[in-house]
């Protein structure tokens, strides 16, 4: 196990001078899965974008292995951290294979056009891991939302990063591919890759997360961190009620012992 870490320190992020979420501290270590949970508008995506070096924070820093990410070149950062946005913009006239090959860009010199053997192997692994190998020759515009999302994840895998930031990676996936993604994420964790994931499905979260960062949309619409901890300490009825204003039943599967979350009704 190595000691690589992506750390957000006292981060306030937003667009322009308007903070969307403030006072965030997150430590993402190698082989860890951290899940961001919170209501719409709490600033989850903005936070992930900042960690992905897409937005400059209003204050605070993000450090990758001891270096502020804004002092790294885009290629150096992208070879260590992959970002999967909520939706991949449909590019014209690129096949799945070509897009996934672009994931190799941070490892290539700027003038290198064709993938080396090593690049091709990485692309092959990424396509197989996301069950996209049979779609490799299809154009992105021919794919469904879920397939496009898997192509996006495959591109990130081809980057062979140490950390992955995934913004609602299951939003377009059917439940079979959701399960596939869960096992893929567990595999990545076993390989020592740290993942930060934005998720809404409490049952998936409970099965995946090592650490949960529960966000709350605060006064004047600036979000804050409500709680950080292991799933069983964060995902309690009282915590979720206070953040989401929703009551839920939590029960234990008698066979597997896993917890199930069933949101029942909204509190006034």
């Amino acid at each position: 196990m190595n000691s690589e870490q992506l750390i957000a320190e006292n981060l306030t992020v937003g667009f322009g001078k308007e903070p969307v979420i403030s006072g965030v501290n997150i430590v993402l270590a190698a082989g860890q899965i951290v899940v961001l949970v919170g209501p719409n508008g709490a600033g989850k995506s903005t936070l992930v974008k900042t960690l992905a070096r897409q937005l400059t924070p209003i204050s605070g820093t993000v450090m990758l292995n001891g270096t502020a990410i804004w002092q790294m070149t885009p290629a150096k950062f992208a070879s260590a951290v992959a970002y999967v946005p909520q939706s991949l913009e449909p590019a014209q006239q690129l096949t799945v294979e070509e897009i996934v090959m672009l994931g190799r860009n941070p490892h290539q010199p700027w003038w290198q056009w064709y993938g080396s053997e090593k690049d091709k192997e990485a692309v092959e692994r990424a396509l197989n891991a996301t069950h996209m190998a049979s779609h490799r020759k299809k154009y992105l515009s021919q794919l469904s939302g879920g397939e496009r999302q898997r192509a996006s994840i495959a591109t990130a895998l081809a980057q062979e990063p140490s950390f992955m930031l995934l913004d609602e990676p299951t939003s377009h996936l059917d439940f079979r591919h959701q399960l596939d993604l869960v096992s893929l994420l567990k595999q990545l964790k076993a390989n020592g890759i740290g993942c930060l994931i934005v998720l809404h499905d409490l049952n998936l979260i409970a099965r995946l997360a090592d650490t949960i960062v529960l966000l709350r949309s605060g006064d004047q619409r600036t979000g804050t961190v409500a709680m950080v901890g292991a799933p069983d300490s964060v995902l309690t009825r009282d915590n979720l009620l206070s953040v989401f204003d929703v009551d839920l039943q939590i029960f234990k599967d008698p066979v597997s012992g896993e917890l199930f979350y069933n949101p029942t009704h909204r509190q006034p």
Partner: protein, 331 residues
């Protein structure tokens, strides 16, 4: 695919041959080839014909090639940068700046030889203003680039009209009109030099940066996530596009349409990687300009027709045909 590439090559050869052979004086291809093979005429008898090829037809042919390459590649870059198939080289303000510079040069009765340089500088200044206005923290804001390009073009257009209406002589108005309508009649070797340097540089940059062009078609956000220095790539590519377009405008005036159509046709006919597409785009641009220029000097019965107008007349229907055949696809 092979058939299409062969057809394109055939059109190129045909265009070049016809441009050398047809005109007020007719040559057979063998005569033209013979003259080309011997830079210095061997006998007095053929010296006149020889001069027509070497001093008139060849520079004009090369300038047509240059204008075709420069405009089409410039359009290709800008369409990829803006991820908009409607983008053309003139959106960057190059044409309007160059047009205004030409109008001003004529109004102040500068030497005719100074006009290409004035056009080039005017184009550069205008596109620099547009580019500076579209700066954003994460590189170029494409929307602002298009909007400020349109705005600046309107201002320059207004000034050109003012100059045209206040022009003291009819001859001056006519001269200005021909520059604005575009054309490559009477161009000589001296105008070819600088413009071909800029064109070669722009084409080389585009070819070297084709992976970056492909990354940018994913959108700035994804391109950055994949390790591209988006701002730097955008600036280099935009500069290349402006150089290319400025070079074309400086020798041909405002020739429209090629930069819009050639990349589009290339994308429709040659689904290939960016390098192949760049070469095909350039070839299509050259074919378009060659045939239009041929028409410009042979159909007019003693008077040159404006090249830009002919390009639209010939290219327009073909373009519309392509658009109609694409129904249902992601247009």
């Amino acid at each position: 695919m092979l058939f299409r590439i062969l057809a394109l090559c055939g059109l190129l050869v045909l265009g070049i041959t016809l441009n050398l052979c047809l005109g007020d004086v007719f040559f057979t291809p063998a005569q033209a080839l013979n003259a080309l093979a011997h830079p210095h005429a061997q006998t007095e008898a053929i010296a006149g014909l020889h001069d027509i090829i070497w001093q008139i037809r060849l520079p004009r042919l090369l300038i047509a090639v240059l204008v075709g390459v420069a405009l089409s590649v410039s359009g290709f870059i800008l369409q990829a940068l803006s991820r908009n198939q409607l983008a053309d080289p003139y959106l960057t303000g190059v044409s309007s700046g160059a047009g205004l510079a030409i109008a001003a040069a004529m109004f102040f009765q500068l030497d005719f030889a100074a006009i290409p340089l004035a056009a080039f500088l005017g184009g550069l200044i205008a596109s620099t203003i547009v580019a500076l206005m579209s700066r954003s923290p994460s590189g170029l804001s494409v929307t602002r680039l298009l909007l400020s390009g349109v705005g600046l073009s309107a201002i320059c257009g207004a000034f050109i009209t003012l100059i045209l209406t206040n022009s003291p002589s009819l001859a001056q108005t006519q001269g200005l009109f021909f520059w604005l309508a575009g054309g490559i009649a009477g161009r000589t070797w001296s105008e070819l030099g600088p413009a071909s340097c800029y064109t070669a540089a722009g084409l080389l940059i585009a070819l070297l940066m084709s992976k970056q062009l492909r990354l940018l078609t994913l959108g700035a956000q994804s391109a950055q996530a994949l390790g591209l220095d988006v701002a730097r790539a955008q600036w280099i590519l935009l500069s290349a596009a402006v150089l290319l377009c400025g070079a074309a405008v400086s020798v041909s005036g405002l020739v429209g349409f090629v930069g819009l159509i050639a990349p589009h046709v290339s994308r429709r006919l040659f689904l290939q990687d960016e390098r192949v597409q760049l070469i095909c785009t350039a070839s299509i641009g050259v074919v378009m300009v060659l045939f239009s220029d041929l028409a410009a000097r042979t159909l007019g019965q003693g008077q040159e027709l404006p090249l830009g107008t002919l390009l639209s007349l010939i290219g327009g229907p073909f373009f519309l045909l392509l658009v109609c055949r694409q129904k249902g696809e992601n247009l």
